[in-house]
């Protein structure tokens, strides 16, 4: 049998149920590997001792009816975990220990999952390379000094390095799909309202959504089934009939109509992305899908819209960090001075930049010109998708306009960093489900992903198309464990 840490979630569950591997053995394997992988810098907080104890408890009294029986899982450090430090990658929450649990993580523990630890991410999930984290850069296991994507960069790196069988991230403008694409893994952003936002450190509330990240499509279907739930504690949680995503997973997608939006052929897109997309179209045809050309005319307005809406909501959400109720406090000569120093010392540069942009676009005299305008354009972007879905069942695009870049390469130019999310942001603005699957490599052998976007609440079709294409693509990550040498 291959090593425990390289098994997929599905295989690990099967082995645990057949008593070939105990939960404690699995936990030990992932922890041993993490200890040898410090160079990746995936962990912000380790929960190893507790994980070993809980896995032993599970083995003493196993319940194999659970969906994640004794499975050790590391999660993005944006999910509040009861009694386990939660930092959101920020200095301002460096010492924050929640007294409650996020709904999504609670759903995982209820099904038998055990917390391995908390994974690095861009500060408050604001970034596309994990370089804005207070806890330092994360190495992409694909090659040294390559970014793992962001904001769920610790999650994508831990997954690709086999430090966790699956993980969860959050996606506001591409923060699950882009890091998945950069690390040769699978990442799914569900429909807005599918997974509860309760207990997730808020970034942009009308866009934030949690989702699974995994080594293959089947594993994402298993994890989505666990984390997607209606939750009264989130006022935007939607009560719809959720599928049994894993048991309903099928490779029969014959006759499904898949749209190809011409506006995603952007200026300056490398040839290899264009080639990958064409290859993807051929794979989809081989799977029996019908390919239809479509138009999403407002695509080029999505990023400017996003960079008004997201900072505006962030500036409002981050107003809570005042040095009073929790988190860092700097001393000041009076209350206002204390607020200003706390926030100046507690927030990093990118977070300050976005809070400033958000404050500006919401400030008196500018609201209509920026925020209201952006909300109107957001409507047009959503209508583009509504119209496209009259003709097609799903949409196929590249996940990102390039492969992973070097650490430091884009960190001084915010706009070029933002352009990374050009294909993922429209999906958040329209609240749709989208998945990134590994589909090939570039000239440096760095992974490239394809994105499948679905109708609202139709995660099943998205998963089914991804599952079918994955078999044809037959992508394998070639990871050499270079960081252990």
């Amino acid at each position: 049998m291959s090593e425990i840490t390289s098994l997929t979630l599905y295989e690990l569950i099967k082995n645990i149920k057949e008593k070939k591997i105990s939960s404690n053995e699995a936990a030990k394997s992932f922890i041993d590997r993490a200890e040898k992988s410090k160079k990746i810098n995936a962990y912000v907080t380790k929960n190893f001792e507790n994980c070993l104890k809980l896995s032993k408890d599970f083995d003493d009294k196993p319940n194999f009816d659970l969906k994640l029986p004794g499975i050790p899982i590391a999660v993005k450090d944006l999910f509040c975990t009861n009694e386990v430090r939660t930092t959101a990658g920020s200095n301002i929450l460096n010492n924050f220990v929640p007294t409650y649990e996020s709904t999504v993580t609670q759903n995982i523990w209820n099904e038998g999952g055990i917390l391995l630890g908390k994974l690095n991410c861009d500060e408050f999930a604001m970034g596309s390379s994990n370089e804005t984290s207070f806890f330092g850069n994360v190495q992409n296991p694909i090659a040294e000094d390559l970014v793992p994507g962001g904001s769920s960069g610790g999650s994508s790196a831990a997954l690709a390095a086999n430090l966790t069988p699956v993980t969860i991230g959050t996606d506001t403008g591409g923060s699950i799909r882009q890091p998945a694409s950069f690390t040769g893994t699978v990442g799914l952003k569900p429909t807005y309202g599918s997974c509860s936002r309760y207990g997730i450190v808020a970034f942009a509330s009308s866009l934030d959504q949690a989702g699974p990240m995994s080594k293959d499509v089947k594993d994402s279907s298993i994890l989505l089934e666990v984390i997607s739930s209606f939750d009264k504690k989130d006022s935007t949680s939607i009560d719809f009939k959720r599928n049994n995503y894993s048991s309903e997973l099928t490779r029969n997608i014959k006759g499904l109509k898949i749209g190809i939006p011409k506006e995603y052929r952007v200026d300056g897109m490398p040839d290899e992305i264009e080639k990958l997309w064409k290859k993807g179209i051929e794979y989809a045809k081989d799977c029996g899908a019908e390919i239809i050309d479509i138009s999403l005319p407002h695509t080029s307005y999505a990023l400017p819209t996003y960079y008004i809406v997201a900072p505006a909501e962030a500036s409002s959400n981050l107003a809570r960090y005042d040095g009073v109720k929790y988190g860092l406090r700097s001393s000041g000569k009076n209350l206002i001075d204390m607020y200003e120093k706390t926030r100046s010392e507690g927030f990093g540069e990118e977070v300050k930049r976005r809070v400033m942009i958000g404050t500006y676009v919401l400030s008196s005299g500018y609201y209509d010109a920026y925020y209201l305008k952006a909300q109107k354009v957001r409507q047009l972007i959503k209508q583009d998708f509504d119209q496209a879905y009259n003709k097609v069942d799903a949409i196929l695009t590249p996940s990102t306009p390039s492969s992973a870049f070097k650490i430091g390469e884009k960190s001084n130019d915010p706009v070029s960093m933002y352009l990374n999310d050009i294909f993922t942001v429209p999906v958040n603005l329209a609240g749709l489900p989208g998945i990134s699957i590994p589909a090939g490599v570039d000239k440096n052998n760095y992974p490239l992903g394809l994105q499948i976007i679905g109708k609202p609440f139709d995660e099943q079709t998205v998963l089914n198309i991804a599952y079918s294409m994955e078999e044809k693509i037959n992508y394998k990550n070639n990871i050499t464990d270079w960081w252990m040498k």
Binding site: S300, Y301, K325, G332, E340, R353, A430
Partner: protein, 95 residues
């Protein structure tokens, strides 16, 4: 349109983030390049478009006005940087 240093300093006051001169200048440069990129939206006529305020087309749910968590004062105060037995402590605001 350009955002000048004076505006940056005003916004930093509104956002309650103290900035030194050097940081304010860097932010002014960054914000200008970001707003140049955002200005693209002005190409579109949106006069007759309804703003999209929420993607979840639902009205907010009502719930019974009942207390669901009791005796959690200790939990709420637990992470406070400065507190006494019952309260958060802040710098003196009333002379």
């Amino acid at each position: 349109m350009t955002i000048d240093l004076k505006t940056v300093k005003h916004i930093s006051k509104l956002a309650r983030i103290s900035l030194d001169e050097k940081k304010a200048e860097k932010l002014a440069t960054d914000m200008n390049s970001i707003f140049e990129f955002i200005e693209k939206l002005n190409e579109l006529n949106t006069d007759n478009v309804e703003p999209l305020t929420s993607i979840a087309e639902t009205t907010l749910r009502f719930r019974d006005d009942k207390i669901t968590s009791e005796n959690i004062r200790e939990k709420i105060l637990k992470n406070s940087p400065e507190k006494n037995d019952d309260f958060f402590v802040v710098p003196k605001v009333v002379e």
